[in-house]
Amino acid sequence: MRPGFRTRFHIETIHDAGGTKAAVRLVAALASAATLAALAAAFLSSEPSSALRAFFLAPFGTEAAFLSTLELAAPLAVCALGVIVSFRAGHYSLGGEGQAYAGSFAAALAAPVLYEALGPASVPLSILIGASAGALVAAPSAIGKRLAGADVLLTSILVSQGVIFAVDWAIGGPFRDRSSNLVAMEALPRGALLPRLAPPSTLTAASIVALAACLAAAFYFDRTRSGAAHDLYGRNQRFAELQGFDVARLSWAPIIAAGVLHGAAGAMMALGARGTAIRGMSGGIGWSAIGAALVAGSRPQALPFAAVLFAWLDSGSRQASILSDLPPDAGQAIKAVVILAVSARPAIAALRRRR
């Protein structure tokens, strides 16, 4: 029998089954978010119909809004990718916030100088510098883990907090643009920013880079030897050691990689719509990223959807609080419940079984 298209081109992996679980998780997250948003609009706002419209339609209602929502998702997706890379190696690094913030600061610092020297070609270089800053912030945790087996969870959060204070001080102090009324660094020249692909939306190349990164990561974990070793190491270090994997490198490299990704995301934020580094701009992206990674079930393929979901919640709730009187924190609350719902499903299933 002649092999059909599927058998001829279907590439089998040696990976575990369980692909549909991610789809279920995503759909459940979307459904619960939508339901909660609708409830919030109905009960917390005095103009439910305009709140509903603002929440659900405004972020996607026009082409510009839709693209801007996608752009919002880009740095979040890259940060969440960093979370996945680190968590799947068994390193529970919580330092993403500081790494992203440092990346924003470093990029905003380097961009004007690089732009003068190189013109628009400075953009990728500025992002690289941001990524390096993120790696630098991650380095103490990586070194601690490699040399002393130090708990990454603790070291990462301590370093990150310190970095946040330091960058806050730097942006508000010696590096502040005194001619501006905002507490921010100097606004970057237009050409030093990520080029806008479809004004008036805020879409830049960052969205494309984020998507590409997610696909590359998916390929890495599913189809490369290092990715398989990375994953097995995260599940069981002893087993990985006994198979001859380079456990020494795996004890620090994923942590640094996560720092690179968070730093790059921070750089993208500074070189995007904001146009500079503003004090406080990292705004909880570290935590949102962990949530998005959870919703995506630690699978990079599902990340773009999870990130867009979160971006929609952020944008929708902000629009709803602008265009109707929905409290602005409704979006954050919904996000929290969605994360809870998604991670509680195994617990609920277990409960049902026991009963």
């Binding site: 590439i11 369980g18 490369t224 030897r225 087993f239 198979q243 994997f245």
Partner: protein, 509 residues
Amino acid sequence: MNIVRLSSIRKYYRSSAAQALDGVDLELDSGEIHAVVGENGAGKSTLARILCGFERPDSGSLYVKGERADFSSHRDAERAGIGFVPQYSMLAPGLTAAENVALGHEPRRLGPFTDRRRASYEFSLLADRYGFAVDPDAVVASLSAAERREVEILRALARGGSALVLDEPTSILGEKETASLFALVRRLRDSGAGIVYISHRAGEIADLADRVTVLRSGAVERAFAAADVDECELAGLIVSGAACADPDRTEGGRTAGLRGGAAPGEPALVIRGVSQRARGSGSLLRVDLTVRSGEIVSVIALGGNGLETLEDVAAGIVSPDEGDVLVKGRPLARWPGRELRSRVMAYLPTDRENRGLSPKASVAMNAVAGRLFDYSFSEFAAGARPLADAAGMLGGFGVANWKGRRVDTLSGGNRQRVVASRELSGGAEVVVAANPAQGLDRGARSRLFSRLAAMRDSGSAVLLLSSDPDDAAELADRSFALYRGRLIPVERGESFEAAFSKALTGARQ
């Protein structure tokens, strides 16, 4: 009197697409030992779990003392008087024996506080009644495997059970411990309890059981009184086609001593002056052991004498406090990880779930994990060659029906086969095999041993660590016993079993 009756039990596992039980009937009367036997994957464990309330059947019915019963959890089964002793310990290692037995039903003092002394006392009462000698206040982590087994049994009995289900209870016991277990089981039977005894060891069944039910592929093949068949036939029923052998010796023992290759060569694995302090009684005291290429050396020990520590040292998991370990003349610590683990040394661990497998990864991944980096980038990305390799390895060790499945959906015996297929397919020069036949039925065990013998014949050095003297009898060229951390050689000349018993219990030669 009939205690438990199962009727037309069916169970289908969607996750592994397997019909685990297909219309099984089983009856248990008081005062009888009913053995349930079968190969790996025949459905024995599933039956036990349904009987004890850990799973619910898809269809069929369960009767306790004539009345229809429906267990929604194992607590219902406990309340109905059915106790479960699992194959792998489910005790809390950090608690004492008495605390483990009382877990969930702790005697209370002043409201929410546990009355420890009362729990200890009740434990002692129970232990005395059944002739156990375990210290109620000993922490479980410090107990030997046999003692832990006793605690498990006491736990099952503590709820006042009339029925007990024992799942492969002797799989980690030595000979003497097995004998005392049998004595206990007979005492329980005589006192009126009904016992479901799950095993694949024909010798034990022949000694112990009153009735036997043989499962094959989820269905009952035959059910009969034990007196009606002899051990040989029984063995044949368990593994269809297995040849009969001398009932004093274990099956398939033809590999022992059979040498197809040359005489032993250079020392491949040298354990030199190794002392290691370990928790409880697991220390090693100046152990010297050399395994040359082309020979199988076995070390047999009961629990608590240092076998686990020897395993850790030989496999390079821990560095010994004193002495060193050399592989092919080079200290173990100096070997680059990948070369040592992928090419030179094979290791079949006792702790299969934590050292031998990645349970949530696929079977195929577990199979090729040891040779990941032997593939090129494009080969691995395309996936065809690793899959084909996995198919070859797994097929060679009799693992079927593994495509697209996670390793934790396989039965215990099949999982052991996966580990063996990964470690032994590559032609390693040094093999450290610790309890390699754990969970394997007769047929699989003999195949595995044949493979080890074949590797020996082509020049590998095999170190066999086990708590079953039969392993040594079948396979080893040279044997040692390990007693309280010291190696005692066992000569082949004298009655093998006698010599072993002496060595295992420390009696002077």
